[in-house]
């Protein structure tokens, strides 16, 4: 589904991704861990198409297409979804109206008819149940005045509405209480299928008790320096990152 090969990306003059490789197949869940500032959000943003980053080398193939050639909206329409680490507030745009526009623009891209008001509402209701988000929240302006946890939940709700092929969750678990964490994880698990894939960026092994990853990667200094299975996450939880840094230093 996704094949990242030797990806280099800069912000300004500063190189942040330094030759990153990653392959994700349909049906898989990949966890990416790594110390602060390693480049996890940068990777997520580059995949989503944020223009602040310059890709200086490497390729990203997404379901046979060169992802880096596509505009952010076309990436989303092709099925890439990134849940933001820090979702911003957009005053004056209601979540409902925003999602209706988004869902219908994606449908249009796929050559489907727009959803009528009733089908859309039904879909909303169904997905609201999935992530247990309140109607009152959705009639407000997008994320405006939402608590940290509510914003994260709203990201997962948007993911459920857009039903992506590849979802990248950038620290969606941070700031969630235990119940919310479980709800969000259940949401992800019920959306999981053999046709889609998830990249879950997290600092905490805790999340991986709920969303069982097929692979765990360590991103450090702009590259994936170690990959393993879910046991790696336990090891990181126990030992921290120093031993990884040492391994890297030794080459």
């Amino acid at each position: 589904m996704l094949k990242i090969d030797n990806l280099h990306a800069n912000i300004g003059e500063k190189e942040i991704l330094k030759g990153l490789n990653l392959e994700v197949k349909a049906g898989e869940v990949h966890a990416i861990m790594g110390p602060n500032g390693a480049g996890k959000s940068t990777l997520s943003s580059v995949l989503a198409g944020r223009s602040d980053y310059d890709v200086t080398a490497g390729t990203v193939d997404f379901r046979g297409k060169n992802l880096l050639d596509l505009s952010p909206e076309d990436r989303a329409r092709e099925g890439v979804f990134m849940a933001f680490q820090y979702p911003i507030e957009i005053p004056g745009v209601s979540t409902t109206n925003f999602l209706k526009t988004a869902v219908n623009e994606v449908r249009k891209y796929k050559g489907q008819e727009p959803l009528d008001a009733i089908s859309f509402l039904n879909m909303m209701k169904e997905k609201m149940k999935l992530v247990q988000i309140d109607q009152a929240l959705l009639s407000r302006s997008l994320n405006e005045g939402f608590s940290g946890g509510e914003k994260k939940r709203n990201e997962v709700f948007q993911m459920a509405m857009l039903d992506p092929k590849l979802a990248i969750l950038d620290e969606t678990d941070s700031g969630l209480d235990i119940d919310a964490l479980r709800i969000v994880a259940n949401g992800v698990n019920s959306l999981k299928s053999k046709d889609n894939a998830f990249i879950v960026v997290t600092h905490y092994q805790r999340l991986l008790d709920y969303i069982i990853p097929d692979y765990v990667h360590v991103l450090f200094n702009g590259r994936i320096v170690k990959s393993g299975t879910k046991e790696l996450a336990l090891e990181l939880e126990e030992k921290g990152y120093d031993w990884i840094k040492e391994e890297v230093a030794l080459g």
Binding site: A48, G49, R50, S51, S71, P72, E73, R75, A76, R77, F81, M82, F84, P87, I88, I90, P91, G92, V93, F98, L99, T101, A102, V103, E105, V106, Y109, S141, Q158, L162
Partner: protein, 425 residues
């Protein structure tokens, strides 16, 4: 318009019944039209249009059906219609009973109620210094006189359409309106400026609004002219104790527009609200000058003006707040926010606070910038195309001001117009 032909016109059409007219004409002759050397007109150059050869008495062939097509859909209101500056009884419809509101054309009112008119006419208008005001006052005969008696609530809104029909010639119109809300009266009055035709048209407009104690007036000025329209207007408001005035000025069209909105808070516990929205494209130029003049203690003024500029358009916002020595415990707030959608659009904002009292709360703020890139990315990352995403953000920005208008059909109409305009630019 040369002074010679204005003088000739004054002999023909000048208002002989109002003593002030003569004085005002002399004042105009002395002043002449302002140039950018005049501090008040520094950023707005009127020389391109004041010298055009306008017809002062232009006829129109607009039919009743054509006029009704202009009316805001779904808005049940007292509709008053002016075409090329002249009141058109035959197109107008007053639904409210005369016990609720008295509505008369200004020339009729001058003929029948001169004493009443003299109480209000040009009382606060600065025709000594403002040439456009002087010109208007000298000729004032067209306009509306609206009088709401004591403790009366006018149920239906009043909507005044000022239509310039420049399909066959260059039109000049000079409405002068007087709206009076007596003690405890409550009324909503909207002025909608519309145009037909592509030749130049120029409105030199004055509205005077008087709020007695405890009166509430909602006033909307909506400029949706298309084509080569020029507009210079002054809305002059005087408030007495416990009154609430809310004025919302929405400018979606016009080539060169200058709006003055001056509120005199002439008593205690008044609330004066000024909201504005301007959406400019191409070469259009819109200049909003506002004054909140706090003459007495304990009053509040709130001001929010927002602008969206694209193309080569230019905007001006000048917001004056005066707090007189007497006016302790004044609260005055002002904010002007602009989004520049192109590199070639520009905005000039100047807050001007003059405060002589020491115990006051005043604040002002101004921002001008591009659309929020992060917000744009967020929307696009969900599959929304760039143009649509931009439009959504601009609509959200504009909605803030449009929502201050209490007439729902007018709000919808404006949001639709804004959406259409955004799609075009």
């Amino acid at each position: 318009m040369t002074l010679d032909n204005i003088t000739q016109n004054f002999k023909d059409f000048g208002n002989k019944n109002l003593q002030i007219a003569e004085q005002s004409f002399h004042s105009f002759s002395k002043l002449g039209f302002p140039t950018p050397k005049n501090e008040e007109w520094k950023y707005t150059d009127v020389s391109s249009f004041v010298n055009l050869d306008f017809n002062w008495d232009s006829a129109s062939t607009l039919t009743k059906a054509q006029i009704e097509a202009i009316f805001i859909k779904g808005l049940e209101a007292n509709n008053l219609v002016f075409v090329n500056g002249k009141f058109k009884q035959e197109f107008s419809q007053i639904l409210s009973p005369s016990s609720e509101v008295f509505i008369q054309s200004l020339d009729e009112a001058v003929n029948q109620n001169i004493d009443l008119i003299n109480n209000y006419f040009a009382k606060e208008i600065d025709y000594q210094n403002n040439a456009f005001s002087a010109l208007n006052v000298a000729f004032a005969s067209n306009g509306l006189f609206i009088h709401v008696p004591k403790n009366t609530y006018v149920q239906l809104p009043i909507v005044v359409y000022f239509i310039n029909d420049s399909r066959t010639e260059q039109v000049f119109s000079q409405p002068h309106n007087i709206y009076v809300a007596q003690e405890g009266a409550e009324v909503s009055i909207s002025e909608i400026f519309v145009s037909e035709g592509s030749q130049p048209a120029f409105s030199n407009h004055i509205t005077e609004i008087s709020l007695d104690r405890n009166a509430k007036v909602q006033y909307n000025k909506v400029q949706i002219e298309t084509g080569e329209n020029y507009h210079v207007g002054t809305t002059q408001v005087r408030q007495l104790k416990d009154s609430i005035f809310t004025g919302t000025t929405v400018t979606l069209g016009g080539k060169i527009v200058r709006n003055n909105l001056n509120i005199l808070l002439d008593d205690q516990h008044c609330e004066g609200n000024m909201n504005g929205l301007y959406l400019l494209d191409n070469e259009s130029h819109v200049d909003n000058h506002t004054v909140a003049d706090h003459a007495k203690p304990n009053s509040v003024s709130n001001e929010l003006y927002k602008g969206i500029l694209s193309g080569h358009s230019t905007g001006v916002f000048n917001g004056k707040i005066f707090v007189r020595q007497d006016a302790q415990k004044t609260q005055a707030y002002q904010s002007n926010k602009n989004i520049l959608l192109s590199d070639t659009a520009s905005m000039n904002t100047k807050p001007q606070l003059e405060i002589w009292a020491d115990d006051v709360k005043c604040s002002h703020g101004a921002t001008s910038g591009q659309l929020d890139e992060q917000a744009l990315f967020y929307l696009r990352a969900r599959g929304i195309g760039e143009a649509t995403a931009k439009a959504m953000l601009v609509m959200a920005f504009a909605k803030d001001v449009v929502e201050k208008i209490q007439l729902e059909p007018l709000r919808h109409h404006l949001m639709d117009l804004i959406e259409t305009k955004l799609q075009q630019s």
